[in-house]
Symmetry: C2
Subunit: 600 residues, 2 copies
C-alpha cells in the first residue's frame, strides 16, 4: 500500500528562503504568515492529509461512487467523515474572505494545501476543491444577497459547489451551449438542459449543492456572447437561510471512468430548475474566465501532486527491492542482490521526477504569490504585473505540470516492474488518476493555444516581455558568478530558444495562423522548461548562499547539496530539450495541413 | 464503441514493394508467399480479428477473468469460442514445423497476424501468443519425445502453453530463482515453488496447459548458472497421448491489474509437480534466451498494435466531432462547428502517431524477415547476419515500440477530450492495456541495458557495424537524388548522432560502466529513431519510384503522396530528437550517481 508524507520542509524552503514570503506582509492576510505560523499551519494540514485522506485513497478507487435509483449518489466509505474533518479544520475557507467566515490567509497557503490533499487523495480533494472554485466565482461576481446566502454555508463546509459547463456536443467550444434559461418573472430563471462531466455534481457529503451553470437566456445572441452564469441550488434556500424545496436538477447517471473513482462525475439534468443570474446577462463566459486562472492552477497542482506521491513510493521501493548488482560491483554484498537504487537507469528516472517536482512546486508557489498580489495589493502597478504573470503562466502551468505529472507517474510505476501493474500496489492508480488532469479544465491542447493565441499577444506582449525581462536580468546579474555558471549558462541558452520561438511566431503566424497552432504544444513545453529552469537557478542561488553562510543545522548543508545536484541534473538532462522544441516549432504547419482528411 | 480495421494494404505495400518478399522464395515456406496468396491469407486473418476478436475486447475488459474456489479460472464470455475459431483457422501453427501439424509459412506472416490480433484484442491474443512461444521453445530445445508429445496438440490448439520465470522476490534478476527441482529417479523431477505474473497460467480455453518452468535442480550452482528449464503439464500425459492425472500445479490466485483484464495473470503454486528437463541441465537460461528474441518482438508488436487501434479510432473521432472553427476560417460553414481534424494541434498528434505506426510496422517486418532468414536459410553467412540483426534490433524494438506505443495511445485518448477518460468509449482501455508491454518480457530499462551492455559490444561490435554500414550505404547511394534529399539528409544527421553516441560509450563506459547505464535509455530511443528514419527513407524511395512509374490505379498515387508527406513529417518533427538524446548521453552518470540515497 502506498504511503505519503507531505513535503512541508520543501515548501518552507521555498516560501521562506526562495520567495521570502515575509516581504509580502503588507498584504491582507500575510501579516500572520511568519515562518513559525507557516510551519504550524502546514504541519496541521500535512497531518490531516497523511492520516485521514491518504488512507482513503485506495478505498475510494476500489469502491467508487454509486448512483441509486432515486438519483442519490453515495461516496466511498469514510469520505463523509473526512469531508467533515476537512471542513472543521477550516481548510475550505482557508483563504476566503473573513466577512463570510473565511480565514483570510494567503491563497498561496491554499495552493500548498491543495497539493498535499491531492497527493493524499486526488478524488477526494476535488469535493472541497470545486467548492472553493465556486466560492471564488461568487465572491467576485455574485450579488451581495447571493454572497450572504451561499458563501458562509459553503465556507463552513455544510454546502458544496460545482461548475456546470460541458454539454454532450460541446466541451471546448462553449459557444455551442444549448442549456436554456427562461425568465420566471420573479427575478429567477427556469434552467433546462443537460450538462455532462460534472465533477461532484451529486453526492452525500453536504446538505446542499450549489451549482454554477452556464446557460443561454432565451433570445440571447448566438455563440459565446450569449452565455450567462446562474446559481442553481440543489435545494432552494428559504429567506431565513434554511433549506426549502428540492430544485428541478438531478443526477441522471454517473460515469465509469479510468480513474478518480472516488469522485462522482455526473450527468446533470436541469428541468426547469430555478436559477439566479450571477453577474451580468450574457457575460457568463467573462465570469468564468476570471476564476479560470485559479481553477487551472488547481489542476496544474493535481499534476504535480500525483508526480510527487508516485515519486515518494517509487523511491521507497527502489531502496527496498533487491535485484541485480551495481555495474561497479556489489554495494550490498551481504544481501542476495543490491537495492535497485544503485542502477543508473533507476536513478535517472527518479532524478528526472525529483527535478521536475521541486521546480514545479516552486513555479506553483511563485505564481500563487502573484495571485495574492493581484487580488490583495493596493498598488495598481503591482496588481497589473501580477495579473499579467498569472495570465501568462497559467496555461503553461496547467499544460506542463499535468503532461509531465502524468509522465512521471508512469515513470514511477515503471520502477516497480510487474508490481507497478498490479492494483494492490497502488502505483497504477496514480497513473489513472493523473490522466484526467491533462483533459479537464481545458484540454492541454487548448492551454497551448490559449498561451500562443491569446496570452502572448495580449496588451502588445506586455506579459511575455516582463517575463523575458525578469529572466534576462537574473541571467545578467548572475553571469559573473562562477558558482552559478552551471545554472545560469544553460538558462541563458534556453531563454534564447524561447525568445527565438516567440519571434518565429511573430514573423510566421500572423499571415498563417496554422503555424501558431502547429507549434503551440512545443511552445508551451519550451516555455515550461525555461520557467522551471529559472526556478532551479533561483533555488541554486539560495542553496549556494545558505552553504556560504555555513548553515549546517539539521542536515541543512546536505539538503542544499541535494538541491544543487538536482539543479545540475535539470540543467544537464532536461533543459536542453528546448532546442528540439524550437526546431519543431520552426518547421511550421505545412506538412501536417497538407494531408488530405481521407488519408489519415 | 471502438472499431478496428486491419491495415492489410499497408502490410502488402511493405512486404511486396518495400521488402520484396518474393526474393526470399528460396527459403522453406516462402515459395507460396506470392502477392495473391499473401493478400488472401492476410484478408482471412483480418476478418477473424475484426469480426470475432475485436467485439470481445471490451467484454474482456469489463468481465475479466475469475478464479473459483477450486482453483479453476474462467475467461470472459466468448473467449472460448474465439479461441476455437483462432485454432481452427490454423493461426496458432501458422509458421510452425509441418512435421508437427504446423503450416510452415513464414514467421513474418505470423508477426503480421500478431499485430492484427493484438490490435483487435490484446488480452485475448496473449493466450495463443504464449502458446506459440512455448511451441518455439520446445521446437528448439525439446527432445524428440517431448516434441511428439506436446507440439501437435499445442499447434492444433487443444493444449496451450505458458512461460514461468518470475518469482515474488525475483523478476529481472533470474539468478535469485528459488523454485526447486528434485530428481524422482525415473527421469522426471519434482518441481516445487511459487511463480508469479504467469500470463494464461490457468484458464478454460484448452484441455491441457503446458507450463515451461525455470527451476533450480538440487545442488545446482548458485545464480543464473544453476537454472534449468522444465516442461510441466497441468494434466500428465499418458503414453498413448491421452490425458492422465492432474499434476501438482495449481493457480493460487489471479492478479487485479491495470489492464489486459481478459488475460488471467496467475500466481502458480508448484507442489512436487512432475516435470521433465528441457535441454541440458543448468542451461535453462540459454534455452530461454533463444526464444526471447521472438517473445520480445511479440511484445514490441503489442506496443504497435495499441498505437494503431487507438489511432484509427482517434482519426474517426476527429472527423466526426464538431468543435470550434479552423484558424483559417470555417471549413464546414454549414455545420455548427468544424470537425476537429481542421485544428493543427489535432493533426500534429495524429500525424505523429501515423508516422510512428507505419515505420514501426516496417521495422517489425524487416526484422521478422531476418528471423526467417536466421532460422530457414541454408547460407551460413546469411543466417549469421540475420541473427546479428535480430539480436541488435530486438531490444530496440521492444523498448521503443512499447514506450512510444503507450505514449501514442495516450495521445489518441487525448483527441477525445473528456470522452477519452470514460470507459464506454474504449480509449482508456487501450492506454491501460498498452501499459503492460513496457514492463513484461524484460522491463524497458533492461532492454536498454541489454542493447548497450551486451548487444553493442558482442562479437567486437559486428552487428552494429553491419547496421551502420547498411544505413551509410543507403545514404551514400541516395544522397545525389534531389527528390530523396528531404529524407536522406536528416537520416544522415541522425545516423551521425547515433555513431557519436556509440563512440562516446566506447570511450567513456569501459572505465566507468555507470556511464553506459546512465545513457542506455536515451541510446535505445536514439537507435530507434534512426532505425525508424531508415524505414521512412526506404518507404519514401519506393513511393517516389511508384509515382514515377505512373501508378495511378486504386488511388495508389494518393497513397504514395500520403507516404511522402508522413515521411516528411517524421523527418521534420520526430527524427531531430536524436540531438537531444546524444546531448543527454554525453553528460554521463556523475550527477545522478552523486546523489546520496537518503536525499532522494
Amino acid at each position: 500500500m502506498p504511503t505519503y508524507k507531505a513535503p512541508v520542509e520543501d515548501v518552507l524552503f521555498l516560501l521562506n528562503d526562495v520567495f521570502n514570503i515575509e516581504r509580502y506582509n503588507n498584504l491582507p492576510g500575510f501579516a500572520d504568515a511568519t515562518p513559525d505560523t507557516l510551519a504550524a499551519i502546514l504541519g496541521e494540514g500535512a497531518k490531516l492529509c497523511e492520516e485521514v485522506l491518504q488512507p482513503l485513497n485506495r478505498v475510494g478507487d476500489l469502491e467508487g461512487c454509486r448512483r441509486h435509483d432515486d438519483g442519490r449518489v453515495t461516496t466511498p466509505k469514510g469520505f463523509k467523515a473526512a469531508y467533515d474533518a476537512f471542513a472543521q479544520g477550516g481548510w475550505i475557507g482557508l483563504s476566503a474572505d473573513p466577512e463570510y467566515g473565511g480565514q483570510g490567509l494567503p491563497y498561496t497557503l491554499g495552493a500548498v494545501m491543495n497539493e498535499f490533499a491531492s497527493s493524499a487523495n486526488m478524488a477526494f480533494s476535488m469535493y472541497p476543491g470545486l467548492t472553493m472554485g465556486a466560492i471564488a466565482a461568487l465572491l467576485v461576481h455574485g450579488s451581495e444577497e447571493q454572497k450572504k446566502t451561499y458563501l458562509p454555508k459553503m465556507i463552513e463546509g455544510s454546502w458544496s459547489g460545482t461548475m456546470n459547463l460541458t454539454e454532450p456536443h460541446c466541451g471546448t467550444d462553449l459557444g455551442l451551449i444549448k442549456t436554456k434559461a427562461v425568465p420566471n418573472g420573479d427575478g429567477s430563471y427556469a434552467i433546462s438542459g443537460t450538462k455532462i462531466f460534472i465533477s461532484a455534481g451529486e453526492h452525500d457529503l453536504t446538505e446542499n449543492i450549489v451549482h454554477l451553470v452556464l446557460a443561454r437566456i432565451e433570445g440571447a445572441p448566438e455563440g459565446v456572447k450569449g452565455i450567462s452564469l446562474f446559481v442553481v441550488p440543489k435545494f432552494l434556500v428559504n429567506p431565513d437561510g434554511s433549506l426549502g424545496a428540492r430544485n428541478g436538477v438531478a443526477c441522471g447517471s454517473i460515469e465509469h471512468k479510468m480513474g478518480i473513482h472516488g469522485n462522482a462525475t455526473c450527468v446533470m439534468n436541469y428541468d426547469g430548475a430555478r436559477g439566479w443570474l450571477v453577474g451580468a446577462e450574457n457575460k457568463g463566459l467573462n465570469a468564468m474566465f476570471v476564476m479560470m486562472n485559479e481553477a487551472r492552477l488547481g489542476v496544474a497542482i493535481q499534476g504535480l501532486s500525483q508526480s510527487e506521491v508516485a515519486y515518494q513510493n517509487a523511491v521507497a521501493y527502489a531502496k527496498e527491492r533487491l535485484q541485480g548488482r551495481s555495474l561497479t560491483g556489489p554495494k550490498s554484498p551481504e544481501k542476495p542482490a543490491d537495492p535497485i537504487l544503485v542502477h543508473p537507469d533507476v536513478r535517472r528516472n527518479l532524478m528526472a521526477i525529483k527535478a521536475f517536482n521541486e521546480a514545479a512546486r516552486a513555479l506553483v508557489l511563485w505564481t500563487a504569490l502573484k495571485a495574492d498580489v493581484a487580488h490583495r495589493s493596493d498598488n495598481q502597478g503591482d496588481r497589473q504585473a501580477a495579473d499579467d504573470h498569472m495570465g501568462l503562466l497559467t496555461p503553461v502551468l496547467k499544460g506542463v505540470l499535468t503532461d509531465v505529472g502524468f509522465d512521471n507517474a508512469v515513470k514511477a510505476q515503471q520502477i516497480y516492474g510487474g508490481h507497478g501493474y498490479i492494483a494492490e500496489w497502488g502505483m497504477e492508480q496514480f497513473v489513472r488518476d493523473a490522466r484526467i488532469a491533462m483533459i479537464y479544465e481545458g484540454a492541454n491542447g487548448i492551454q497551448a493555444l490559449d498561451l500562443v493565441g491569446r496570452k502572448l499577444p495580449r496588451d502588445g506582449g506586455r506579459a511575455v516581455m516582463a517575463f523575458f525581462n525578469e529572466l534576462g536580468t537574473f541571467v545578467a546579474e548572475n553571469a559573473g558568478d562562477d558558482a552559478m555558471k552551471p545554472f545560469v549558462r544553460p538558462l541563458e541558452v534556453a531563454l534564447g530558444h524561447l525568445q527565438q520561438a516567440t519571434m518565429w511566431f511573430m514573423q510566421n503566424a500572423m499571415a498563417k495562423p496554422d503555424n501558431a497552432g502547429a507549434g503551440s504544444h512545443d511552445y508551451m513545453h519550451l516555455f515550461g522548461l525555461v520557467a522551471l529552469g529559472y526556478m532551479w537557478a533561483r533555488m541554486a542561488k539560495v542553496a549556494l548562499a545558505k552553504k556560504a553562510d555555513g548553515a549546517h543545522m539539521n542536515g541543512e548543508a546536505a539538503r542544499m547539496d541535494a538541491k544543487l545536484l538536482t539543479a545540475r541534473f535539470f540543467m544537464e538532462r532536461m533543459l536542453p530539450e528546448t532546442g528540439a522544441h524550437l526546431a519543431r516549432i520552426s518547421t511550421g504547419a505545412d506538412t501536417m495541413m497538407a494531408m488530405p482528411a481521407e488519408m489519415f
